[in-house]
Each structure stands twice: as C-alpha cells, then as structure tokens.
C-alpha cells in the first residue's frame, strides 16, 4: 500500500547526468519496497509545473553536479515550500564550491592539502608558464588538478611532471573556467557517509578506496571491479575516529542536512586531510554511500525512508 508520494529528481543537464540517472533508479527501487509511491522526474522546463500541480509529499534530490548540487534546484524547492531530502540551497553552495569548503574546514581547524585557485584569465593575462611555474613551486609535484566545481572526478587529473601541466590544464578547463590545484597527498583514501538522525549527524563506517590504477578517476569509479573497497576502512581506532569526526564536522560547518559524503586521505602519520564533501552523493551500484549504509547494518530504502519522514515533518 502506498503511503506517500515521493518524487526522485534524477538526470538533469550536468556532466554527471548518467551517474544521476543511475543513482535515481537505484534509490527509486529501494524506496518502492518501503511502500512509497515513487515517481522519477528529470529536471527540465516542466519541473515547476509538475511540482505545483502534482505536489509530491516530498522530493529526494538525486541530482549530481550543476544545477542539482550547486543550490539552484534546492532554491526552487524552497521557494515552492516543497519538503525535500538533502541539503538546502545555502549549504549546497558552500559544499559545491571546493575551495570554499576547503577554506571553511581549514578555518575550523582541520587539515586540507595546500591549494591554489586560478581562473583561465589569470594564465592568459600573466603568462601561462610563469603562473604554472609559481604553482609548481608552491604545491610541488605531483599535484592534483580539479575543476573548482563538479563531481565524479570529471576533469580531475594527477600531474606528475611539469611538462604534463599545459595539457592537463586544458583538459580541466573544459569542465569550467576555474581550476583548483591541490598538493598531492599520499595515503589511505576514504569516503565517509554522514546520515542525520534524531540525535544529529552520525558518521557511518568509513569506506577505504583502493583503485587498481592508483587513481580514483571516472573509470575507476564506475567500472565494477577496477577498484577494491574495504568497509570499514583498514584504519586504527584513532584514525577511524578522526575521519568520522572530520565528516561530521564538515557536515556541520558547511550547514549540510540529512546526508553527505566526505572524502579524505589519511597519511601514514595518522593525519586526516579533508579533500571535499558531497551534499548529494552518488547512490549507484559502485558508489560508496550504499556500501557504508550496508556496513552499518541498514538498507538504502530504510535510511531514505527515515530521511523522507524527517523532511516531511520539518
């Protein structure tokens, strides 16, 4: 019997449309077994009309990247007073912009790899080689290039030699006008899911990520078998506690809601380095959030059913 009607927003027009569609399908299937009436909606010019006329009891935002994660869709839902699962518009904006999230976490006393943020115009106006040289001088090699906004590691590259930098910059700028260059930190890569319940945000067991290629890029993320996962992560108690504290802190500091996923690196000395946080994390067959939920002894359907109930009662 269907108790509530829930619209799962998935798809959209971001570069992560394909990932979002997969997240949406998996979540919808999980919620159907929780007696919800589920509708999967793409975001297009008909979205507002559908929200107004069909008025679902709640919306779950399973959009990744672009409008679905930068706070835009959340703003629309807030304007229409539609209850939704996930972070509100302001929190999304803080988390979506990687340099902003890093700065806020650093100001809160957490460690994050050194970084610089530069738009294309700076390279054009000051001379690319001089700026690249300064970047390498500041961050060392290898370094990581990422679009300052975006997910699924699209456009992200590890640069090991200075000679690789110009091509890597061009590849990265194809995803946005501003690049985040980050010092490369070697260690144990973990993803920590945070779920918000009656007692506030709580970290689930960390998932350790060991990509076969050494780089957790798009292929390693979405090709089953190319990455090994360890849940809980093979960390000592102190490090496991530290990554959990970081993830909960990131959730609080950035003003996130309901669910988030924090990515971090633990170096051999036990230091936890914050990388980024995702206010609308992937829920696909190869995503780490469902793994963490399972490791916590829960199911994707029951976790989201609880979040939906919370959203409706807000």
């Amino acid at each position: 019997m269907v108790d509530r009607t829930v619209a799962v927003l998935a798809g959209g027009l971001s570069h992560e449309r394909d990932v979002s569609l997969r997240s949406g399908r998996r979540l919808s299937a999980a919620l159907k077994s929780e007696s919800f009436g589920i509708e999967e909606w793409d975001t297009d010019a008909g979205l507002l009309e559908r929200l107004r006329t069909q008025r679902p009891d709640a919306v779950v935002v399973a959009l990744h990247g672009g409008e679905g994660e930068n706070g835009s869709v959340q703003t629309v839902l807030e304007m229409l007073d539609v209850p939704f699962v996930g972070t509100g518009s302001q929190g999304c904006r803080r988390a979506w912009d990687k340099p902003t999230a890093k700065a806020l976490l650093q100001n809160a006393g957490f460690v994050t790899p050194g970084w610089v943020v530069l738009p294309h115009s700076t390279f054009r106006e000051l001379g690319a080689q001089a700026v690249l040289d300064a970047m390498v001088e500041r961050l060392g090699l290898p370094l990581i290039l990422k679009p300052d906004q975006g997910g699924s590691a699209l456009g992200t590259q590890v640069v090991r030699e200075a000679a690789e930098l110009p091509a890597a910059m061009v590849g990265c700028f194809a995803y946005g006008d501003t690049v985040l260059a980050e010092r490369y930190v070697d260690g144990v890569e973990v993803a920590v899911t945070v779920i918000e319940g009656e007692d506030g945000p709580e970290a689930l067991p960390a998932v350790e990520i060991v990509p076969e290629s050494g780089v957790y890029d798009y292929t390693a993320r979405y090709t089953a078998g190319l990455t090994d996962f360890f849940t809980p992560a093979r960390l000592d108690d102190a490090a496991a506690k530290a990554v959990a504290e970081l993830a909960v802190a990131a959730h609080r500091v950035l003003g996130l809601r309901d669910i988030s996923r924090t990515d971090a690196i633990v170096t051999p000395d036990g230091t936890v380095h914050f990388l980024e946080v995702n206010p609308s994390p992937g829920l696909t067959e190869t995503s780490t959030v469902p793994m963490a939920i399972e490791a916590a002894g829960k199911s994707l359907g029951t976790v989201f059913a609880e979040l939906i109930a919370r959203a409706i009662s807000r």
């Binding site: 027009l13 292929t219 979405y222 078998g225 090994d228 960390l235 633990v266």
Partner: protein, 439 residues
Amino acid sequence: MTENRPSKPQSGRQNLDPHLERYAARTAGMTASEIRALFAVASRPEVVSLAGGMPNLAALPLDTLSAQVAEIIAEDGLVALQYGSAHGVPVLREQICEIMALEGIKAHPDDVVVTVGSQMGLDMVTRLFCDPGDVVIAEGPSYVGALGSFAAYQAQVVHVEMDDRGLVPSLLREALDRTEKAGRRVKFLYTIPNFHNPAGVTLAVERRAEILEICREHGVLVVEDNPYGLLGFDGQTYPALRSTDPDNVVYLGSFSKTFASGLRVGWVLAPHAVREKLVLAAESATLCPPTFNQMIVSRYLATHDWKGQIKKFRENYRERRDAILSALDQYLPPGCSWTKPDGGFYVWVTVPEGVDTKAMLPRAVTARVAYASGTGFYADGFGSRQMRLSYCYPTPERIREGVRRLAAVLESEMDLARTFGSVGSRQIQGPQTPSPDTV
C-alpha cells in the same frame, strides 16, 4: 601506501565484480568512460546533437507501415513469429539483389546472407578472417563501429589517408608494401567508398579499378561497406566495387539508412565459399535474423514506392547538408576546414592547431552542443584535430543553432590553446566500442 598503517584484519576486501579474473583479454577496453557519460547529456532536447548518425525517419509513411505490419501478423503470423533460416528470408534476398543492381551488382540471392544490421555482417566477416594480430587496412578516418569489431577480434588497423576523392591508391600500395615488409599479415581492406562515414567524401570512380587491382596484387580481400550508396543528393549512384570484382569483394548492405534502422536488417553479399561460412557463423551468433523484421522489409519493398521514399530521404538530407555547410561558412572561426559531402550524413571538420576536440567535448556539452571527436574514428590515437558533424537528424534551424554554439566553443578553446600553447591530446577516457551516439 598502506604499509605504515596499523591494520584492522576484520575489514574485508570487497570487489564489485566477482568475475573480474575470468574475463577474456579482449574485454580490456570495456570500461566506463567520460565520453559516454557526456553523451547521456547529448540525448536531451536542450542539446543540439551533431554527434549521432541517427537517420531522420520523419518522412516514413507510418500509417501504411502500421497496416502492413498488422497484415503480416494476421496473414502470416505463425511464420513471422517463428525461427527462420540463418541465410535469411528467400524473397527478401531476391529483393536485395534488385536493390544492389542499382549500383551495378549482378548477384544471385543464394549469395546474400541477411544479417542483424550490416554491423553483424561486419562482425562476422572479421570473425571469419581475422586472428589476433592480423592487420586490417582501413581508411583514415574510418567507421567507429568497424574499428570496434576489429578491436573485438584483436585485429590491428593500419589506416590509409584519404583526400577529397577518397582513398588514395598510391598510399594504399605503400601501406600494403610497408606492412607486408614488416612481416605482418594483411587480411582485408575495409572501405566505405560512397559518402564516407565519417569523412563525407566519395571514392572517385576512376580510382576504383586501381584499388581493386592493388588488393588483388597483394592477395588482400576487399570488404566494401555501402550503407549510404543510394543517398547521393542528386540521385547519383556509383558503380560498387563488388560490381567489377565479384570474387574478391565482400559487400555489406543495410536498410538502416534507406528504410528503418530500428528493424536492424542488413546483408552480406559474398563469394560462394565465404557465404557458406557466413551462414554457419550467423547460426552460432543469432540462429537467424528476425523473421518478422525481414517480412516487414520485404512487404515494404514489394508494396511501397521505396525508390520514391529514398528520394524523399535524399531531399531531407540535402536540405540539412545545405544548412550545415552554410552555417559552417558563416560561423566557424578562421583556420577551420571541412569536407563538402554530396550524399550521406556527415561533414568532417578539421580545427586549428592546438585545439583538441576530445578534450573540448565537456565544454561543448556545457554549451548544449555535441559532436563526435575525431579520435574515435582512428585506431591509432590520431584525429584530435578533427570532429564529425552529423546533419542527418536535427532540423535545419537546429543545425544552424548547433553550429553557432560550436563556433563559440571553438573560440574559447582556441583562446585556451593560445594561453597554454599547442598541447598534445589529453588522454581522457573515450569509448572503446561504438555507442549509438557515435555510430
């Protein structure tokens, strides 16, 4: 990177593919790719997709077809819905011979094998002839779906350059000499002589005999892929290679561009001995091509003015070709060049030095336009300065809008190239196998 970490032995390794160790070596490239992910966006109506080679079927007489399909079920349902011969429905094979006669081919229906699209024919021909490491000669660029088949059978591709009159005979001879001298075994030349995919050029008639002669001299089979041959914008056709060398040419034909791609009906015309093996290969692949679909095609050919229908298709495509050439002239920045097709679906664009069309694709998708990067049409990593634009599907207005957006994307990318200098192709992950967006 885990050596210094105090470990917790109770944490188990989880790999999401329990069959990982069992796959054949040929699956190595079958991975998720950024390029495929981007094409998920390209399918949205907000994006002008100049990427896919989807035929424009709007001119098909759907009411008539609907009635004919119902008649087939009503009159011949128990045959239509039953297994058939791996060779194909006999009456359809006779009709296929009539179609091929338009391009000078004299063939017996027994030598025609109906396939699930000509892609299956290509796959079977490669399976019959290529052992791992064998060489296939192909035009550079070549059809992405063919490169996928060759890769699946672990054949090596040697590309031969084209000019605006198609494959260059002297370069073909050089490539064969060079390859053979290196001790490599060349199995066949794969060629699309008419309205080439992706290059949009047509092999000059006067070169055809020479190409056939070169292949004969070198003991190399010719595989002629001709899905667009009847789509010359002025109604012109060219003599098929098969028409003058029936013993050394395997011919691939298709109804996908002249009728309905969704029915997946194509064919192979092959010399007797090859045909016998093709039938056996087809049996092991699919048992038989879909009987129902073959009967739909056959009834359509028997009862409809299919030549008139092709003429309508040609007129649609010509209008779209005119739109894209005019838009390219109007919008594309200096330094770009492109082919000028007189049939088929595609324009092949070369962009200025320093611009990498594969690296540029995310920017294009952000700007709501999509194209197929040139690198997909080469087996050797070439093609980063090229792209294929398909004009077959969007309306002329959408084509113009798409080219306008593409021009702005190119300007931005040229600006980047000026900033960072001429850079090599970034190795972002592209499709190893064809997707509907690039076929």
